[in-house]
Symmetry: C2
Subunit: 467 residues, 2 copies
């Protein structure tokens, strides 16, 4: 008879430790591919990143292939567990695409020439995608590699599902899941795209905010004008845009879009108490980025602002002359990109409708407006009933100094909800990112500790869940 | 005895008519030089434009040279009139620098590959600088060329003073005028950088608005952040910027900067009556650019909005991600460029101080702000006492269908005030631009009629003023 997965764990962990330099080199290779999904100029690079992953998975004996979509390809792979394994059939999800890198001048190195750097806080892997999400998805693949190398097989049956459009709203995801529902349905989905709580406590995210992305352009005069010739008489769309967005919040930080708070749940006392128990240190959290004061609704706690309350953020605005020097132009157009984070049962489509009506009601007669849709996903609440959750929480507690916690997450990972609604399976969100990883920002990094202990954590979780 | 200037005029006008094709070719040559003064990348081109003018002036027997400044060079030239001429010593001012060309994608041709185009309204010279100001300054030089060709000399003593920094706030102008006051002081200055009233009535501008240019950057977090991780908790500088600029005007279009209207004169009844007599057709003026409603102070007339009232215009705003697709970033910085048009005795420095204090008073504790100075010039009111004004007005009336008018001007031509304050001479502002020339915009043009009749007008004015 074969020994139990847990009995096989020690040699896997040892292999992960000794293989760390080679594992890091593999990650650096993947990080050199500039797979920016939102910018059409990088389509070929997204394709190369998918090919790289297919080849790597195949080297583990996994039946992997690149699957086309109208956008960037999916990478899908399948591998069986041991004969007679009683473990669950697990799906692992990660994404190989990355965020744009601008403002490029703020990077201290080429974002796609990654390297290991020594910092005051220890060794880090610096480069775009190191933390979001290439470094994270490779922790799982490296854990599988160690299992395969030590024991010739993986401890349970696994389906790999790697996406290339997560940073651009995942337009192909839902259609692909629906078309391939039978193939992708497993007992449980593992999603590795989140972080540790306060950079030290392993966390299984059970509450995810939704995301609504909006973009609009206001047009006033049909061409740029001389501000001396027309100024004061011709309506300036930049004036209109700032006036409208200037009304987005009241003095208490409450979003002014009608009915926006419909479906926002009241935080139940138990959860509120557990969160207070976590002792969220918002002063350090904000201090790390040069701030000190919570900017959200005056009536809620800082942790609620990022976990359980809806938000509206201006992600970009542009109008007129933005180059060096000065140009006395009265611009023809002014544009903005905004995103709303959604919670509870807030309806993204209703909020899109209400937001657009709210903006258009403030538009002067002489201005036109055009809209672009971006992401549109509701919030989701994970069930933790599947026994794998408690097994995973114990395994995580064995690896890290602090016991693992069930936590909320400010970010939006729509796929978690889709696994439930389309494939009927629960999703477990676990990751090793830290608050100071600067994902989506210049100088993104991933701690070597996150990469190493993250890989070890997956090895432990695979064993625990396969018992 | 030599015949009078007026007796010599007819052959000069005939020469201008026959020389028009060659004159147009010379202008196209100058327009091909991309002398964008505000952008350091074009420094060499500004220099080339100055050299081109020096060579052209020298070909008319004018002692011309390029004179260095800390910025772009001045072109200065001198030529005597006829022996025993009783005419005034005239200074002619124009500028050889041009505005930036963005947004480039809106140009129907390369802005620096100019050409004559047939349009529904007749032939036009299309290209950046065709109207502002290369085409205009060349009308004067071509008039001189014709006088020289027909009579071997010019009808009066003339000093040429051509600038290369007008579109970037003329930083070197005042120091240069002060250092060379003796050389530049004449009886009267002619400035060719304005237009016809409503595209048809020749106008001598007697009222010019001042200009104050401001630029600021608001910094919130010290790096770009993930809007999901920090959104709702961290202050967003784009939210702060839109909030502040959204307060710039009240519902009646009144600018909210404290004391801004100090020094704004009440329009006297005579001037008000004369302006009403001009029958300004604001519906066509706005209709030409796709608008219909006056956007200025509810309490004043459309003509006052562009001639005699102060304005505040947002010339540019930028923050966060402005590229293709979507990026859920919470930006670190948000910036704006604004310009104020000033009238009467409004004090630009006081308004700069009050505006900055007004902005900073609205800044949250967590935000920093940095400022950049741009143009800073008061409004000016021209005196028309010098007999040359009436002589010029008659000469203009001879050339054009409508009698010439004394008019206001929305734009800002600070040098007019400097000629008076530094050199003690009056300035006469005359030009041939039309409302639809799209100066400072894509597809700038100058009507061939403006170029031709403008040249003829200068010939007439030189004769009339030299009598």
């Amino acid at each position: 008879m074969t020994s139990s997965p847990n009995a096989k764990l020690d040699t896997v962990l040892a292999r992960i430790d000794s293989d760390l330099p080679a594992a890091t080199d593999r990650l650096l290779e993947l990080l050199r591919i500039p797979s920016i999904s939102t910018d059409p100029a990088y389509k070929g690079d997204c394709d190369r990143a998918a090919d790289w992953l297919v080849t790597d998975l195949q080297s583990l004996g996994i039946k992997a292939e690149k699957r086309p979509t109208p956008g960037h390809p999916m990478v899908v792979g399948h591998v069986d567990g041991p004969k007679g394994s009683t473990g669950p059939h697990i799906l692992f999800y990660g994404h190989y695409d990355v965020q744009p890198v601008d403002p490029l001048n703020l990077w201290r190195r080429d974002p796609f020439d990654p390297a290991i750097e020594d910092t005051a806080k220890g060794k880090v892997i610096r480069g775009r995608g190191s933390a979001d999400d290439k470094g994270q998805l490779m922790t799982f693949i490296e854990a599988c590699r160690a299992w395969k190398a030590e024991h010739g097989e993986l401890p349970c049956k696994i389906t790999f599902f790697l996406e290339g459009e997560e940073e651009s709203g995942s337009p192909s995801l839902v259609p692909f899941m629906k078309e391939n529902a039978d193939e992708l349905t497993c007992d449980l989905a593992l999603i590795c795209d989140t972080g540790l709580f306060q950079s030290k406590t392993p966390a299984i995210m059970t509450m995810l905010r939704g995301l609504l992305g909006e973009e609009f352009t206001i047009t006033g005069p049909d061409k740029d004008l001389h501000s001396g010739m027309y100024g004061g008489l011709a309506m300036n769309p930049a004036r209109v845009l700032t006036k409208i967005l200037g009304n987005l919040f009241d003095e208490d930080g409450v979003i002014q879009v009608p009915d926006l708070y419909e479906g926002v749940p009241v935080l139940n006392p138990e959860m509120k108490a557990q969160w207070e128990g976590l002792g969220f240190d918002y002063k350090t959290f904000l201090g790390d980025v040069g701030l000190s004061e919570p900017a959200g609704e005056a009536s809620v706690t800082p942790l609620e602002m990022i976990w359980s309350r809806p938000t509206a953020e201006i992600n970009g605005i542009w109008s007129g002359y933005t180059g060096a020097g000065f140009k006395t132009v009265l611009p023809s157009e002014a544009s903005a990109k905004l995103s709303f984070r959604l919670v509870g049962t807030q309806d993204p489509l209703a909020i899109r409708k209400n937001f657009r009506a709210w903006v258009e009601a403030q538009l002067p007669a002489d201005c036109k407006i055009t809209w672009k849709d971006h992401s549109c996903s509701p919030a989701s609440q994970m069930s933790t009933d599947h026994p794998a959750f408690e097994a995973a929480r114990k395994a995580l507690t064995d690896e890290w100094p602090d016991p693992a916690a069930y936590a909320g997450c400010g970010g939006s990972i729509p796929i978690a909800g889709y696994f439930k609604s389309i494939l009927g399976m629960d999703a477990m969100l676990v990751g090793w990112g830290k608050d100071d990883d600067m994902i989506h920002s210049p100088n993104e990094k991933y701690d070597l500790e996150s990469f190493h202990k993250g890989t070890r954590s997956w090895a432990r979780m695979l064993a625990a869940m396969s018992e």
